[in-house]
């Protein structure tokens, strides 16, 4: 029983350490507040929403690293929760759109399109949209765009060498029998990103060729993942040699901890990471200020620092490591509306091929 006491006191010590770490966090925030108040005196005019709290539903990995900067500059506080856009849309349906959340940040554009149909989103055309290509945003102004997420593959260098495989250069290469069982991709009916690859390649290759391709690659796929992030993880862990994936700052993060390399193939499907205000929001003015900030040149570069992506705003340079491997001309010509309307028929045909 004396051992028990030792264990208990050890646990208590660890608890204390945790609370110290946590306190340090609080202190930093307080310091920031102090600084803000001193410099804030003569900026009152520009800070009409000081102290307003915005609730944000986030589906944009790494975005939280930019919230402190936004709060420091505007005085608007951010409370956020990370939730996939599909789950958020289910939640919205369950509460009939009466959400307490103000802003929807990132995620799958198809959920946004459905939410518009159900009347859950607020129409707002930010002045900053002028710097964003029209094809990235909703023509009616229900959603804007934060970034462009390009899709390609991630390969495990060790496994490629060990198994004596060639590094694929085109989508067609992936159908080569040498990759049998070594490819993983997400189930497109679950992952919005994987669906974008499907839909994008159908639009870029043409119906017939694209379906021949998907039929051929099915023979090489060893595992269909249940979320968009899973293939990259499995490749990093060495379970599979090649994974179809979105390529973002997080993908480059993986290269630091695992022998993996992101690769873009001959055609690059993409989706925008959208942003929108909820119709039920009680803080629409602050929410608009939030959207304005995040699509402005300044906000976009802060967000790029938080997670390196190709930003929607054309005035912001793409991140170096992405620009080094991505030829922007390879981005396919992508009709998002068609992508949305073809979803059911595309997925039905895919299910037929794979029996998933």
């Amino acid at each position: 029983m004396r051992n028990m006491k030792k264990i208990l006191s050890l646990l208590l010590i660890l608890l204390l350490i945790f609370s110290l770490v946590a306190c340090r966090g609080t202190d930093v925030v307080k310091d920031d507040d102090g600084v803000v108040e001193i410099s804030g005196e003569d900026e009152k005019e520009e800070r009409p929403y000081e102290g307003t709290v915005l609730e944000v539903s986030v589906a944009y990995g790494g975005a939280e690293n930019s919230f402190a900067q936004f709060t420091e500059e505007t005085g608007i506080e951010i409370e956020w929760v990370s939730m996939s856009t599909g789950a958020k849309l289910s939640q919205l349906q369950a509460e009939e759109g009466e959400t307490t959340t103000d802003v929807w940040f990132g995620g799958g554009v198809d959920s946004y399109i459905n939410a518009i149909k159900l009347g859950y989103l607020h129409q707002y055309k930010s002045p900053g949209y002028a710097n964003i290509d029209d094809k990235y945003i909703d023509p009616e102004g229900y959603y804007g765009a934060l970034a462009i997420v390009p899709h390609g593959i991630i390969i495990n260098d060790d496994l490629i060498t060990e198994l004596g495989l060639d590094v694929p250069e085109t989508w067609q290469d992936l159908t080569d029998p040498q990759y049998r069982g070594e490819i993983t991709m997400a189930d497109p009916s679950i992952s919005g990103g994987q669906y974008a690859i499907h839909s994008g390649l159908i639009q870029a290759m043409g119906e017939e060729d694209a379906w021949k391709f998907w039929e051929a690659i099915d023979k090489n796929v060893g595992f269909y993942g249940q979320s968009g992030g899973e293939p990259a993880q499995k490749v990093a862990e060495g379970e599979f040699a090649i994974g179809l994936t979105a390529i973002t700052g997080g993908t480059f993060g993986l290269t630091e901890t695992a022998p993996v390399t992101p690769v873009f193939l001959d055609k690059v499907p993409w989706i925008p990471a959208p942003i929108a205000i909820f119709e039920n929001s009680k803080n629409k003015d602050a929410a608009k200020a939030f959207v304005d900030w995040y699509v402005s040149d300044h906000g976009q570069s802060i967000l790029k620092d938080a997670d390196a992506r190709i930003m929607a705003n054309r005035n912001v340079e793409p991140p170096e490591d992405l620009a080094a491997i991505l030829d922007m001309d390879k981005l396919i010509d992508f009709d998002l509306i068609k992508m949305g309307s073809d979803r059911e028929s595309t997925l039905a045909r895919w299910a037929e091929i794979t029996g998933e």
Partner: protein, 546 residues
Amino acid sequence: MNRNTSYSSHFEKAIIILLIIAFLLFILYPIAGLLLRSMTEGGEWTLYHYKDLFQAKNMELIRNSVFVATLSSVLATVLAFGIGLYAHFRKAGTRNFIYRALMMTMISPPFVSSIGLLTLFGRRGLISYGIFGATLNPYGWHGLVLLQSISGISLSAMFIMTGLSQLDSRLILASRDLGANPWETLRNVIFPAMIPTILSVLFLQFTMNISDFTTPIIIGGRFHVLATEAYLRVYAQANLNGAAAMTVLLLPPALIAFFFYRKNLQRTDTLSERSKLLDVDSINFKLPKIVTFISGTITVAFFILMAVQYGNLFIQAISRNVSGSLVFTTDHLNVFQSRHFDALLRTVYMAVVAGFLSTVFGILLSYYNKRRQIPGMQGVEFIGSLPYIIPGIFFGLAYIVVFHRGPIAMTGTLLILIINCIFRHISVGNKAANAAFENIDKKLEWASYDLGTSKLRTMLTVIFPLIRPTFLVSFINAFTACMTTVGPLMLLVSPKNLVLSVMMHGEVRNGQYGQAAVMGVALIMITFTVNLIAIYFMTGEEGKVQ
């Protein structure tokens, strides 16, 4: 005296009525609300989502679900019985150590066991590939059964240890005195007396496994089960109504399981009713050698597996895997900011309150149904089992559907999380108490009534003290489950009532395993600490199980 009795009988009636109202309001009403919603589309009544319900594909899913849930729960129960048996006939020190170790391994933050085991036994697992050089393919029903059984063992073994501790060891003595060898004693005395506990464990495991959707996602591969398909319809396709309709298919197997459980529980009524007068420590009974060997092997193997799995988590929390070699770092600890600390405090508060009330309600329900046989309570008990049968995410959605507006609007509050947790876990305390009451002599209460004590007073002063171990095991389970479950809370959280398990789930989804591991370790340590405190208070002395 008379007035006193009638006062307390009114008081008792009030308790029963409140209990029934609570079950109707917080279990039946939300579930009915969700099902009604699934029968509307664009504001109109339709059975659109139900017309294809019985198509071949869904039938295959339900077959898969029942197959896996049955196999996993039987396997978990058998292995847990081995561990429980082994532990029970060891010295008190070893027994208490095993009990505490089980309490620790029961704490399973989201995805920890699945990911841990994949790391070890996956296609390039550290053990399967690293040591034996074998490329196993764990994806499929076999991996699923293995994972579900392993994750069910801790709770089941704790239940079985509690059940064994409530056995009267005089029976074992009597059996030996009459010339029965240890093997016959085990088969004819110990095993029959344990049937109520085993049934409870089987039922709980079955309902948990059939509604489990996280394990199949990670390990199921091309093998699909109903709970996962329904979950994915919500999570990925936002097809709320279609998914809700699908969960209806889980009800028939659950109903069958429930009646199987009730029927067999009643049949054993007369077999095992006796009170415990003698501790196991005071007798000299040894299990047959072969049983000791097998159960000992199971126990050791289980704990080695757990040690590797949890060791893996702790290492992930303080290291980075750089090109195949481990580098220690404190980077992940830095992510634990004030936001996480708030969430952690909130989680602990929620889990303590919910764990306590859930246990109280569960035991009261068992007392009025099983013990006092009050008519209609059996129906209430089935209602109480429902939240465990439907996949967690739907119990969360059901709350959103009925509590987002109107007189009891409470979405986005901490209260809704607490209430949801209370009613989700009632089944555990309830089934544990059902098993415990089987082994407590009714004559004790009759004696108490004869001496003029009211029923309420008897319940408080005679019955409750006798089932303290049951109270403890179900509090520990409910508390632990509230600390770590994600399913029902996933959609109930808003930024204002975030809890740590949901944040951890988010980190896993974003592939931030290091940070997720830090949260996992925090959850484990705090849950374990609170459980130790609970043991301390419940036993009144330093940590003796019985």
